[in-house]
Symmetry: C2
Subunit: 224 residues, 2 copies
């Protein structure tokens, strides 16, 4: 990893064309070749960048200014003109063991599969990731009346998720063995517009409590 602090201009040409006027910025060159140009503000997204794999060619223009030309297989280019170097450090960090995550959608789906009764008394799970030609349905259940229910699980429920569930329902309802299939849209948070769309289509919305679902797994809960 090489880190430059430098006064520079940057031009990107590829999927779009973008230009950065002269200013002080941080330029990171990672061991895999990736190049990031960061300003002293903004979130984690660089102002401009090039992802690995790519190659860096260092040269000079006619007036002696350092020019780094970074390019990749797709002929995208990032041209950095380095006008003044304020700092330049290099370190070999070695490989990273990587991030361990918890609490994402897969986990939420797993917990809900274990506790489908939170969707209604007498409900049972038919299967998780029920395959269809257009993708897997998160949970396929049977309610107390024996009616099939397709459940779409999201961390945040938005319109896209309702559309996704709608496509599944359209398809599942063509299967005479399953039809009629009802829908449940289950999420930790459901946006008003998504709720409106869902309910307008006869899809029930359920707000999930991740802590409670996880707590239901915790043996200490069973003492009460």
């Amino acid at each position: 990893m090489r880190i430059l602090v430098a006064r520079c201009t940057v031009e990107y040409a590829g999927r779009l064309t973008a230009r950065l006027p002269e200013a002080n910025r941080v330029i990171m060159v990672k061991a895999d070749g990736a190049v990031l140009v960061h300003a002293d503000g903004g979130s984690y997204k660089p102002l401009n960048w090039m992802s690995a794999p790519c190659s860096l060619l260092a040269s000079h223009d006619e007036s002696g200014v350092i020019v780094w030309t970074v390019s990749n297989k797709a002929a995208e280019t990032l041209e950095i003109r380095i006008l003044e170097v304020l700092a330049d450090v290099e370190h070999d960090l070695g490989p990273d063991p990587g991030l361990v995550k918890d609490g994402v959608e897969a986990h939420l789906q797993e917990l809900l599969a274990l506790h489908v009764h939170t969707l209604g008394a007498g409900w049972s799970l038919i299967r998780r990731e029920h395959p269809t030609p257009i993708g897997p349905v998160d949970l396929l259940c049977r309610d107390a009346n024996g009616t099939t229910v397709a459940v779409e699980v999201k961390r945040r429920g938005e319109i896209d998720g309702v559309e996704q569930l709608t496509r599944y329902l359209d398809l599942l309802n063509r299967d005479a063995l399953l039809a009629p299939v009802r829908g449940v849209f289950a999420a930790q948070q459901i946006r008003p517009q998504a709720r409106t769309l869902a309910e307008d289509r006869g899809i029930r919305c359920v707000v999930l409590d991740y802590e409670a679902l996880r707590g239901a797994d915790d043996p200490s809960w069973r003492l009460f």
Copy 2:
């Protein structure tokens, strides 16, 4: 902007829980308070981060290890334990003039609005960004027969875009003054699944040529 190269562990607790085992990494602290933890590989996304606004509290644990606790209004926390500092540089970069872009969807829509005839002879533009209760239709046109056409413009045409256009069409067709309204899905690239879904719904797909549209603006073209 302060940049540390350090052996560290990181823990994030907030929208999810995530942990980084001990390794050498780069820690950037931006002037606005944002903190990024980068490995020596991977694209521009940090392994872990906290966006501004947030506050950083530096302290030590019982064994003298430096602990940075970064937290924000939403009670998300990022805890960085710094076991060894390999480098530590700080620079005030000043404000950034920002990025100038070209070639994004807004530009594509603008160009197509100027040249609706590329969609068909005798077509005319009724208006851009035609408002509806569920959002603006990119282009509302009239074809050679006088039929109203809603055009959705995308850089890359995927299923989401077809769903979006479908919602607009459903709504526009309830307006007796406009109905019947047909749909055109226009994009630089259209994914097969999106094309299939669109055509199944009677929506015409048009692949846009950005260079040609831009060239049509170029006076030099008019010489031929």
